[in-house]
């Protein structure tokens, strides 16, 4: 089995303006989905959710505020899974709550640093 990183991309700006209940429901959906992966023995690392604010450092050490949540492919978080192949990794993404937000899951094979 290899490790694959799942990167959750979506326009999260809608989420930021949603009610506490909606946020809670979304978190619950995510926990159910990831819990299911863990149950099957396919979870390598739950990963992190990322706060919506941050900085971008560019060449020449230029620092800008951002990133911008209204970007359609804004990164909301990531998790690491174990799978035998890309095909199996794709199957694991089924039911990921990021799809509710019309988002995407980027699947990347991991190289150990």
């Amino acid at each position: 089995m290899k490790d694959y990183l799942l990167i959750f991309r979506a326009d999260f700006s809608k989420m930021l303006n949603s009610s506490e209940e909606e946020k809670k429901a979304m978190t619950q959906k995510y926990m159910d989905w990831i819990g299911d992966i863990a149950n099957k023995g396919n979870l390598a690392n739950q990963g992190n959710r990322l706060a919506p604010t941050g900085r971008i450092v560019s060449t020449g050490n230029l620092v800008t505020d951002g990133p911008f949540t209204e970007t359609k492919e804004f990164i909301g978080g990531y998790s690491m899974i174990k799978a035998d192949s890309y095909e199996q990794a794709v199957a694991v993404t089924e039911g990921c709550p990021v799809f509710i937000l019309n988002g995407k899951v980027e699947i990347r094979e991991v190289m150990t640093i």
Partner: protein, 119 residues
């Protein structure tokens, strides 16, 4: 001093670029020295390298496309998690990232969210 975790995401302007093995080796060493310097301050948490080839993206209706090259052309080359006292300290770490030697590349600095339901 309270520490938060920050994720530094390496964004390459052009993920299709092919580097020579020698160039790759130099980058690898530079990256390891950069991370080693952060780890020597006991501020490294974890790291993941992401090779460019063979990535897939799954869309909301189950559509699978090859490569991470969607609306944004950039390709993520890897990410590391660090401990820092502030976003500014995390930005200082990011400034040393060898990825920034490539024109147009950026490092995105993001604070790891606590479990406060803001996802």
């Amino acid at each position: 001093m309270s520490m938060d975790e920050y994720v530094l995401i390496f964004r390459h302007e052009d993920g299709q670029k092919v580097a020579s093995p020698e160039q790759m080796q130099i980058w690898m060493k530079q990256t390891m020295d950069w991370i080693g310097g952060i780890a020597a301050q006991n501020k490294f948490v974890s790291g993941t390298g992401l090779p460019f080839d063979g990535a897939k993206v799954v869309g909301h209706n189950g559509v699978v496309t090859n490569g991470p090259f969607g609306d944004i052309k950039e390709t993520i080359g890897g990410l590391i998690t660090v401990r820092a006292e502030s976003v500014d300290e995390a930005v200082e770490f990011a400034k040393g990232c060898p990825v920034l030697q490539g024109e147009g590349n950026t490092v995105e600095v993001r604070k790891v969210a606590k479990n406060d339901g803001t996802h």
